[in-house]
Subunit: 359 residues, 2 copies
Amino acid sequence: MQTLKVDLGDRSYPIYIGSSLLDQDDLIHPFLNGSQIAIVSNETVAPLYLQTLKQSLSGLKITEVILPDGEQYKNLDVLNTIFDQLLKDVHGRKTTLIALGGGVIGDMCGFAAACYQRGVDYIQIPTTLLAQVDSSVGGKTGVNHALGKNMIGAFHQPKCVVADISVFKTLPDRELSAGLAEVIKYGLICDAPFFEWLEANIEKLVARDEKALAEAVLRSCQNKAEVVAEDEKEGGRRAILNLGHTFGHAIETHEGYGVWLHGEAVAAGTVMAADLSKKLGWIDEALVQRAIKLLVKAKLPVVPPQDMTPAQFMELMSVDKKVVDGKLRLVLLKGLGEAVVTGDVPQDLLHSQLEESCK
Amino acid sequence: MQTLKVDLGDRSYPIYIGSSLLDQDDLIHPFLNGSQIAIVSNETVAPLYLQTLKQSLSGLKITEVILPDGEQYKNLDVLNTIFDQLLKDVHGRKTTLIALGGGVIGDMCGFAAACYQRGVDYIQIPTTLLAQVDSSVGGKTGVNHALGKNMIGAFHQPKCVVADISVFKTLPDRELSAGLAEVIKYGLICDAPFFEWLEANIEKLVARDEKALAEAVLRSCQNKAEVVAEDEKEGGRRAILNLGHTFGHAIETHEGYGVWLHGEAVAAGTVMAADLSKKLGWIDEALVQRAIKLLVKAKLPVVPPQDMTPAQFMELMSVDKKVVDGKLRLVLLKGLGEAVVTGDVPQDLLHSQLEESCK
């Protein structure tokens, strides 16, 4: 097992990465506040792992909140069902919520913890690759709104994260690929050697080699922890983690939450961002092709959905959280491992880029 | 105009108290982040004060969100209509929300600001006595849940508070009295000289003497600001601000939100807390009678609703936010101006107290 510390002053917390961690009852216990626990999971993950987790928590009063599975359920109404259950079982301020699931469960459980009685503790046990490398690290929590993804939420750091590599055995291929999109992102935005390692190891990752996956999770979390420690609330640099996300969120919102997986949308969005970076003369065609090749090997889409128009992209991107005073800001590449946030993309260039992408 | 500073490090903010402040455009402007503003108000307050406020904000892009009036609308569904409007008008992270209304508007607007795009700025312009002396100071925001009051929320401090005494001219008698319940509370919990001042000036306050009201608002806010500065997130001492609130919240939840005003429920709850303190031998009958006399002069109820039973109180109080590991904690009095939070009230004493109160 490897332990990685996310360094955020009095909100610091450890990420444990390794095999068969769900059974280890000594990992979670030190972080419990009292005798009340609520495990938030979904209909897909609970039958696989809830019993194992509960065994390591014997003797405690456990409330189970099992939500429907999918991004389309990440909204205020479903969030309220978590509050219903917590109040029915009379959970107090010293309760601890545990997120057992992918990014949707982590985001909703974390947001519920941020708001329940104005804030209680929570622990992340991410069961998808995407959640392990991205959504469970950094304290971004929230739900979607019909008009925009992740528009309602809070920064609320977990007490610890348990990333159990063994859960990938039950992960569907599509979910594995979606996670790889975020893994590849870290290489592109801030870690060129990791990108090269990924080029050399992508086949092993797709074949679920446990050692390679553990390495990918560790290095992804290291990169994310470093960026988050520098800029917890995204005043500046943290925004680079959103490479491909402005385009990607537009795709997710347009297609309907859950139709494209988040990682799939990010993959197509990453290619759009790389293309635009090339158009600006910041990177060369060779790097764009390397990114595309790696994403294709990871079995990810590299073009947006056929039914989307440039106008639809522009409209959906206008509510992006990185917009400042009406000005769209995008995360683009200045080289391999070097991302920047820019509000200076000429409108005509962006339009011609969208025209090309939507062909 | 008087200026009071709430001292919370980098979350410190000023409270401006005085007459005709709504027209003064130099008060709010320094706290605006960008050119976007959303004013959140309700159907009662907006026709009275929205135009005046807008005049002092000319040249800015203003979104108006007008909610229905009443505690029964302080829930997640109505909260979502604020997000609808913000997203339709493409508000970004640099927007500023302004709460123009009573406690319900302040709590909802503040919570919307805490959650919109994971946190934007907001300003409080409280238009009821209760909001000026209580809910607009201290950063508690949130909404109610069918199973408990203020159960979903966040700590989110405003950038400034503008307490315009002139708005009391349009305040209904019942709302004025409700505010006085919280004013009297400050005397009881931490400011004996203020309690004595209130005994001497209660007739002036009920008659809406502007000078007396300004003094009452200032001293109430001073008391609250001091307690909050010591314990922003209610780890300890801040809980004393909840004198009468555990009983009061039970009344509000049982009667249906909006049937009893918050201040009315707190008034009856305060008498229950005082009675219980006397039963414990902590204060004498004379002080209980002084509190009752002052509340009656402020035209407030001093007994709970006739239809409530001790069992109903016990059930509703079990979800109180001050409950720790299943143990109810109450704010009680050890003397005039001296409140304590205690988990040590014998069950039989509490029951006999509830039996008496519910006769």
